[in-house]
C-alpha cells in the first residue's frame, strides 16, 4: 500500500524541488534539509501538497522533521494517516 504513496511523494519532490533532475540520486532515507533539497518555504509547499493529495489536514505539531525530512519519513507519516482515515471511515 505504501509504494503508490512513496511514488507520488518522490515524483512531487523531483518535480517541485529538483526541477525534474532525474540524475539526482534521491535516496529514501536522505535528509531533505541537509541535502539542500528543501528550504523553509519548501516545507510549506510540501505540507500543502500532502494535504491536497492525501486529503487530510496536518496538525501544526505534526510539521516536524521527524515526519517530513525524507521520502521514507513522509511516506510512513502519510501511510499512518491514510490508515487512520480508513479506520475512521470504517467505524463511522
Amino acid at each position: 500500500m505504501t509504494q503508490p504513496i512513496k511514488d507520488s511523494i518522490k515524483a512531487f519532490i523531483i518535480e517541485n524541488f529538483l526541477f525534474g533532475d532525474t540524475a539526482y540520486d534521491l535516496q529514501d532515507d536522505a535528509s531533505l534539509i541537509e541535502n539542500e533539497v528543501i528550504d523553509s518555504t519548501g516545507v510549506l509547499e510540501l505540507v500543502a501538497f500532502i494535504e491536497d493529495q492525501f486529503a487530510f489536514v496536518m496538525a501544526d505539531a505534526d510539521i516536524v522533521p521527524a515526519n517530513l525530512d525524507s521520502v521514507a519519513r513522509i511516506t510512513a507519516f502519510v501511510a499512518r494517516h491514510a490508515g487512520e482515515n480508513a479506520l475512521n471511515k470504517k467505524s463511522a
Binding site: F19, D21, I33, D39, S40, T41, E45, D60, I63, V64
Partner: protein, 648 residues
C-alpha cells in the same frame, strides 16, 4: 570620482596609443561626463573621464607634476587633502591647483609608496613614474573604488571598469566558471578573480607595481582584530561612545568637502539617518536627501524616511520603485555590475542615483558600511543564537529565537522549533569551523547550483568555493572572537565583492554620481575593530555602541529600530504583469542551451513555477535572478555567445 584606463608595456604601437585610450575612456564615459583627457609616453599611457567635484577649473587629468616625471590618473577622493596640502606647503611644496589630485603627486614625490598610509579616502589611481620607469597602481583600504587589470603578452592594461579593458585588442569576454561557482555560493567572486576569465581585480588595500623587471602586487594595509584573550582596549562604554561620535562627525565633515553640493541617501534605517543628521547642519543651503519607496509593504520604509526628513528639515526627494521598474532597469544593471548577481537589490539603487542626477547633484553620502563595522547584520545575531542552541541541542525553546530574528520572513513564522533548528544547522555545524557564522547562508545560496548544466558541473568537479575562501583567511583569524571572525568575512569579502561594487559604486556611477561612506573612514574602521564585541552586539541588539553614541541625533522611533535588511522584490519583478520579452528569451530553451551553463529542462520548470506563483523561497528566488543575470551578462559582454566551461 571619475574613471580611468591605461597601459604599461610595449604592446601598443605609438600610433595606436591615442585611439586605444580614447576607446577605453569612451567605454566608461558615464563615470566622468564632465571632461576627458589622455596622456602618452613611450611604453605607457593613461586616459581619464572626469566627474568634476574638487578643483572644478584646475583639476584636469591625467595630471603631470611640475617636475615632469610623475603623471597620475585618479578616481575617487582624498578627503584629508586639505590637511595634507598644508603640511606639504610648510615643507616647501608649491601647488599649481586646488585639487586633491595634485596632493597625491606631491606626497608620492616626497614619500614614494609610503604615501598611501597618509591618505584618508576612497580612491584608485595609477601613477606613471617616468624616472623609475614604473607604473604604480593602488586601491583604497576598504575597496570603495574599483580597479581591474589584465595582461596581453607582456603589456599590462588597467581600468576602472572591465568594459574599458574589452576595448583592448586580444582581450575577450569569457565567463570564468570558477567565478560563477563563487557567485552562486558566496554572492561574489573572490578577488582577484572576476566574472571574466583572465581579467582580475586589484584587491582592496593593495598596490600593484609594474616595471621593466615585471609586476608585483602587495597589500599596504590589513583589516585585523585583537586576539580573543587580549585585554579590551575600551572598558568604559561612555568613553567609547564619545570617541565614536567624534570620529564619525569628523568622517562626515571631511566627506562634505566638495566644490559642488553634497546630498545624502536616506533609507529610513539607523545608518543613513545618522549620516544625514550629522551632515544636515554642515550643508550650506540645506541638505538634499534621497529615498526609494516600494509599493509592497514588505519592502517599503517610506514612513520612516519621511519622519526623518521632516525631523531634519531636508529637501527630500523620493523615487517610487515598482516591480515593473526593476524589470525595466535590470539589463542596464547587469551592464554596470559586470557580473551575475543573485538579488535584484541593485536595481532600485540604479533608479535612485538617476534621481540624484536629475535633481542636479553628483555627490551623496550613504550609511553603507555601518553593518559591517558595528555588527548590524542579522547573520551576526544568527551565529550567536546558533551557538546558544548548540549548547542545549534538544531545547524546544531556544530555536524560537530564529523566528524573532527573522520576523520579516513569512516562511519562518509557521515553522516548528525542530524545523528552525534544522534549517539553521543549530547544533550540527562544528563551532571551530572558520565559516561557522556563514554556513547556513552558504548552504542556502549554493542550493541554486542545482540548475548548473552537466558540462559545467563536470568542469567544476571537486571545486569548493567555500574552501577557497577559507584558504584566503589570514593566519591570525583563528585567534579572533567569533563575532570578529564573522565581521571580517563580511567586511573583507562581501562588502567590496558585492555591496560596494554591485550596489555601491556601479549603481551610482552608472549615472555619474559619487557615493561617499563615512562609516568606512579607516580611522573609524580601525577604532571599531578594537571595541569589545559586547559593545557592538549587546545581547541581540545590533550596533549598540553606535546607538548610544548618536541617540540625541534621532527620533526614538528611528534610533531604536531593529534593522530591516534592504531588499527588493526578486522573481516577482519579472513574471505575470511584469513579464518582458528579454526575460522570456533569457529563459528559453534555445538561449539556455546556447550559453551551456544551465540545465534547460530544470530552468524551464523553474520559470514555469515562478510564473505560476512568484517564488517566495530563498533558493528559487536566488536561482531565478542568478540565471537571468548570467544570461544577460552573456548577451551583453560575450561576442561569441558561447561560454567556455574549461576551468581557469
Amino acid at each position: 570620482m571619475c574613471g580611468f584606463g591605461g597601459y604599461f608595456g610595449d604592446g601598443v604601437a605609438p600610433h595606436d596609443a591615442q585611439p586605444l585610450l580614447q576607446r577605453m575612456v569612451a567605454a566608461i564615459a558615464h563615470r566622468g561626463p564632465d571632461e576627458q583627457g589622455i596622456f602618452t609616453a613611450p611604453s605607457a599611457g593613461l586616459g581619464h573621464a572626469r566627474l568634476s567635484i574638487v578643483g572644478l577649473g584646475d583639476g584636469q587629468q591625467p595630471m603631470t607634476h611640475s617636475s615632469g616625471d610623475l603623471t597620475i590618473a585618479f578616481n575617487g577622493e582624498i578627503f584629508n587633502y586639505v590637511e595634507l596640502r598644508e603640511t606639504l606647503k610648510a615643507q616647501g611644496h608649491v601647488f599649481r591647483t586646488g585639487s586633491d589630485t595634485e596632493v597625491i603627486l606631491h606626497l608620492y614625490e616626497r614619500m614614494g609608496l609610503d604615501c598611501l598610509s597618509l591618505f584618508n579616502g576612497d580612491f584608485a589611481f595609477a601613477i606613471w613614474d617616468a624616472s623609475r620607469e614604473r607604473m604604480v597602481i593602488a586601491r583604497d583600504r576598504m575597496g570603495v573604488r574599483p580597479l581591474f587589470y589584465t595582461t596581453v603578452g607582456q603589456t599590462l592594461y588597467f581600468a576602472s571598469e572591465v568594459k574599458a579593458l574589452l576595448e583592448v585588442p586580444g582581450v575577450r569576454a569569457e565567463m570564468d566558471p570558477l567565478a560563477l561557482d563563487q557567485i552562486f555560493t558566496l554572492w561574489a567572486p573572490i578577488a582577484p578573480r572576476t566574472a571574466f576569465r583572465d581579467i582580475f581585480e586589484l584587491e582592496p588595500a593593495h598596490l600593484l607595481i609594474a616595471g621593466k623587471s615585471g609586476m608585483s602586487i602587495r597589500p599596504y594595509w590589513q583589516l585585523q582584530y585583537p586576539d580573543i584573550g587580549e585585554p579590551a582596549a575600551y572598558k568604559d562604554e561612555r568613553d567609547a561612545a564619545e570617541e565614536l561620535r567624534d570620529l564619525l562627525t569628523d568622517a562626515t565633515r571631511i566627506r562634505m568637502r566638495a566644490d559642488v553640493p553634497v546630498g545624502s541617501y536616506l533609507s529610513g534605517g539607523l545608518d543613513s539617518s545618522i549620516v544625514s543628521a550629522l551632515a544636515a547642519p554642515m550643508a550650506p543651503g540645506g541638505l538634499s536627501t534621497f529615498s526609494v519607496t516600494f509599493g509592497s509593504a514588505e519592502h517599503d520604509e517610506s514612513m520612516f524616511q519621511e519622519q526623518m526628513a521632516t525631523a531634519l528639515g531636508t529637501h527630500h526627494y523620493a523615487v517610487a520603485c515598482g516591480e515593473g521598474d526593476i524589470a525595466s532597469a535590470f539589463p542596464d544593471v547587469i551592464r554596470f555590475t559586470e557580473r551575475p548577481i543573485l538579488r535584484t537589490a541593485p536595481a532600485p539603487l540604479y533608479q535612485l542615483s538617476g534621481l540624484v542626477r536629475e535633481k542636479g547633484l553628483k555627490v551623496v553620502l550613504t550609511g553603507e558600511g555601518a553593518d559591517e563595522v558595528f555588527a548590524g547584520y542579522d547573520i551576526f545575531k544568527e551565529a550567536r543564537v546558533r551557538r546558544f542552541c548548540a549548547r542545549q541541542p534538544g531545547s524546544r525553546i531556544r530555536p524560537h529565537l530564529f523566528r524573532k530574528l527573522y520576523a520579516y520572513l513569512p516562511g519562518l513564522k509557521q515553522q516548528s522549533a525542530e524545523y528552525l533548528a534544522a534549517f539553521f544547522g543549530a547544533g550540527d555545524d562544528p563551532m571551530d569551523d572558520p565559516l561557522f557564522s556563514h554556513r547556513p547562508r552558504l548552504r542556502g545560496t549554493a542550493a541554486a547550483k542545482l540548475f548548473f548544466s552537466a558540462d559545467l558541473r563536470q568542469t567544476l568537479s571537486g571545486y569548493d568555493a567555500a574552501a577557497e575562501l577559507v584558504s584566503r583567511l589570514p593566519q591570525d583569524f583563528s585567534r579572533w572572537h567569533p563575532l570578529h571572525q564573522a565581521q571580517y568575512l563580511e567586511s573583507r569579502f562581501l562588502l567590496p565583492g558585492y555591496i560596494l561594487s554591485s550596489q555601491g559604486d556601479r549603481m551610482a556611477m552608472a549615472h555619474g554620481v559619487e557615493g561617499r561612506f563615512p562609516f568606512l573612514d579607516h580611522r573609524l574602521v580601525e577604532f571599531a575593530t578594537r571595541l569589545p564585541p559586547g559593545m557592538k552586539l549587546k545581547g541581540l541588539v545590533e550596533k549598540h555602541i553606535l546607538r548610544e553614541a548618536t541617540k540625541d541625533l534621532l527620533p526614538d522611533t528611528i534610533g531604536r529600530r531593529t534593522k530591516q535588511p534592504y531588499r527588493a522584490p526578486d522573481s516577482q519583478s519579472f513574471v505575470g504583469k511584469n513579464d518582458r520579452d528579454y526575460v522570456r528569451d533569457a529563459f528559453s530553451e534555445r538561449s539556455i542551451a546556447e550559453t551551456g551553463l544551465f540545465n534547460p529542462k530544470a530552468v524551464s520548470k523553474l520559470y514555469e513555477k515562478c510564473s505560476d506563483k512568484p517564488a517566495s523561497g530563498y533558493r528559487d528566488n536566488a536561482a531565478f535572478v542568478g540565471i537571468l543575470s548570467t544570461q544577460l551578462w552573456q548577451n551583453t559582454f560575450s561576442a561569441t555567445k558561447t561560454l567556455s566551461t574549461q576551468a581557469a
